[in-house]
């Protein structure tokens, strides 16, 4: 193979890997936000991502049919706003009515609880939809087609997803690391009791944070719907990688989650050029190495 061709191939696989990395980053970001403040490992994150994709599909293809209103079809752009809000609301409902009773126990209980939520959500969607996946037909016209990147023709929609997600991650990082609200969140992570004594309503903050984190999962779900076929197990396939990302980045570290998410997507993609079957294994190999060398993760605070 000529060198020039090789470089093109690496760049092309890198772009596709980056496209996966976008979802790793967005999901592990939400997971990190939730873990940071609540100390809850939200196993349901993948299922909420899947639910987000299904909501987009339902709003587009089924809702009108179910209600007998043929004209009713909620497209991609409204879904991009509506679905994260719905998922955030659902997340807050779960937090307020169930999850909050478990904070005083060992974190393993909340992990098991969210695992249960995952099974319920998957079960419900397997019951009503095709387990092998349904395509989402609602990709906006303006994002169809390809762009010439010089080294490859890249789908316009995927490029949009990459840019949009980088923006979302940057905004979330800014909110948490640079604003007054973010400072309260970080303080609440360290010492919730004292933050409460200063007159801040910590339980409310916890509920909103959980809603925000799950909303991010919903947003990732909507973005994923036009790329991957919408299936009840799409989250389950992803969540294991997401956990690896969070562990490598450092539990609870925002920057760690984002950077590691994108980086692992890239590494996974580039590995495909050399030895495709090893692509997925690479992530876990890296996790093992990082855990051995820096147990608190690349961006985690050493304690």
């Amino acid at each position: 193979m000529e060198l020039d061709q090789m470089i093109r191939l690496i760049l092309a696989q890198g772009m596709l890997g980056l496209n996966n990395g976008v979802f790793y980053a967005m999901l592990s970001l939400g997971l990190a936000v939730i873990f940071g403040l609540l100390n809850v490992v939200n196993f349901a994150h993948g299922a909420l991502y899947m639910t987000g994709a299904f909501l987009a599909l339902i709003l587009h293809s089924y809702l009108g049919q179910w209600l007998g209103l043929d004209w009713l079809q909620i497209g991609f752009w409204p879904s991009l706003i509506l679905v994260p809000l719905l998922i955030a609301g659902f997340g807050m409902l779960i937090e307020r009515t169930m999850l909050r009773w478990l904070y005083k126990f060992d974190p393993i209980y909340s992990l098991l609880f969210t695992f249960g939520v995952t099974l319920v959500l998957q079960g419900v969607f397997i019951n009503f939809f095709n387990a092998s996946g349904t395509p989402y037909p609602g990709m906006p016209e303006s994002l169809k087609g390809v762009v010439n990147l010089g080294f490859m023709m890249f789908p316009k929609y995927r490029l949009f997803v990459i840019i949009f997600s980088i923006l979302v991650c940057a905004v979330v990082w800014y909110i948490i690391e640079r604003t007054r609200i973010g400072a309260r969140l970080r303080a609440g992570t360290e010492n919730p009791e004292l933050v409460k004594a200063f007159g801040i309503n910590v339980p409310l903050m916890v509920m909103l944070t959980f809603g925000f984190g799950t909303g991010l999962a919903g947003l990732a779900g909507v973005l994923a719907a036009p790329i991957y076929s919408v299936s009840p197990l799409m989250g389950a396939n992803l969540i294991i990688v997401i956990f690896a990302v969070v562990v490598i980045g450092g539990m609870g570290s925002i920057m760690g989650a984002v950077v590691t998410g994108f980086a692992l997507g890239l590494i996974e993609g580039v590995t495909k050029v050399f030895y495709a079957p090893a692509a997925n294994t690479m992530i876990f190999l890296l996790m093992v190495i990082v855990l051995l060398v820096r147990p608190s993760g690349l961006f985690g605070r050493q304690s």
């Binding site: 007054r180 400072a183 309260r184 970080r186 303080a187 992570t189 360290e190 010492n191 009791e193 004292l194 933050v195 409460k196 004594a197 200063f198 007159g199 801040i200 309503n201 910590v202 605070r301």
Partner: protein, 247 residues
């Protein structure tokens, strides 16, 4: 107002700000406070003396709602606070609390730490006033909370609650582990705050520091107030005090 009227406190018409009656507090199953009684008039400074583990810090934590359970009566500005949720106590009572471990947040820089507590009154100190009172803090504004010296952390912990407009300050062991020169500075700060009309509860191990500042001392042992000594009587009660505080 002269020192003499301050000393006699609530008995002679100084407006009572804090009245605690029969306060009990628990951590889990452990019953820590067994009926604390105390009162504090506007502009007064009292200290809680006693040995480690006597219940002095828990008294402050119980006022702030930071215990698992509390019963009895805590009246602040005449209103009952015993059943208030923890996050309403500081704003409704205009209280500033400085915990024993100082509570500086490691992931926040000095300025973020300073701006963290929400305002509880209108006449909080401005940043300019705070930096003129604590000049050291101005130089380290962007430094992270953990990278401060013990003295700087303590000043930050006090400055943080002065900004909020709190008028009743609960200060827990502010001199603990600090160099004498910093303890002296803190003494000047507390005297200045008193002059500005703040009402202060000081939990203090260092009696020499406390003696020069307080209007009244409460001695706490086994979760109860076992003695109450007015500032004027301190000299006469020295023997008793030494007995209480000897380890």
């Amino acid at each position: 107002m002269t020192i003499a009227t301050l000393q006699t406190g609530a008995d002679t018409g100084v407006k009572p700000i804090l009245q605690i009656k029969d306060l009990h507090a628990w951590y889990g199953e452990s019953h820590i406070l067994h009926g604390i009684e105390m009162e504090l008039g506007e502009g007064q400074l009292i200290t809680l003396l006693g040995r480690n583990g006597a219940g002095r810090s828990t008294t402050l934590r119980a006022i702030m709602g930071m215990v698992d359970r509390r019963t009895g009566s805590i009246r602040i500005h005449g209103n009952e606070f015993i059943n208030k949720p923890a996050h309403r106590i500081s704003p409704d009572g205009r209280i500033g609390y400085c915990p024993e471990e100082r509570g500086i947040f490691a992931s926040l820089n000095v300025e973020e730490n300073l701006m963290l507590p929400p305002m509880v009154g209108e006449d909080g100190m401005s940043l300019d006033e705070i930096f003129s009172m604590f000049p050291n803090l101005a130089d380290v504004r962007k430094r992270m909370g953990t990278r401060l010296s013990g003295g700087e952390q303590q000043m930050l912990a006090i400055a943080r609650i002065l900004r909020t407009g709190a008028r009743l300050l609960l200060l827990d062991e502010i001199t603990e582990g600090l160099a004498p020169v910093i303890v002296k500075t803190l003494g000047t700060v507390i005297r200045d705050l008193k002059k500005r009309g703040y009402t202060i509860v000081l939990v203090e191990q260092n009696f020499r520091f406390a003696a020069t500042l307080a209007d009244r001392h409460y001695v706490i042992e086994h979760g109860k107030v076992i003695d109450r000594i007015e500032a004027a009587d301190v000299d006469a009660s020295m023997e008793r005090l030494n007995h209480y505080l000897s380890v």
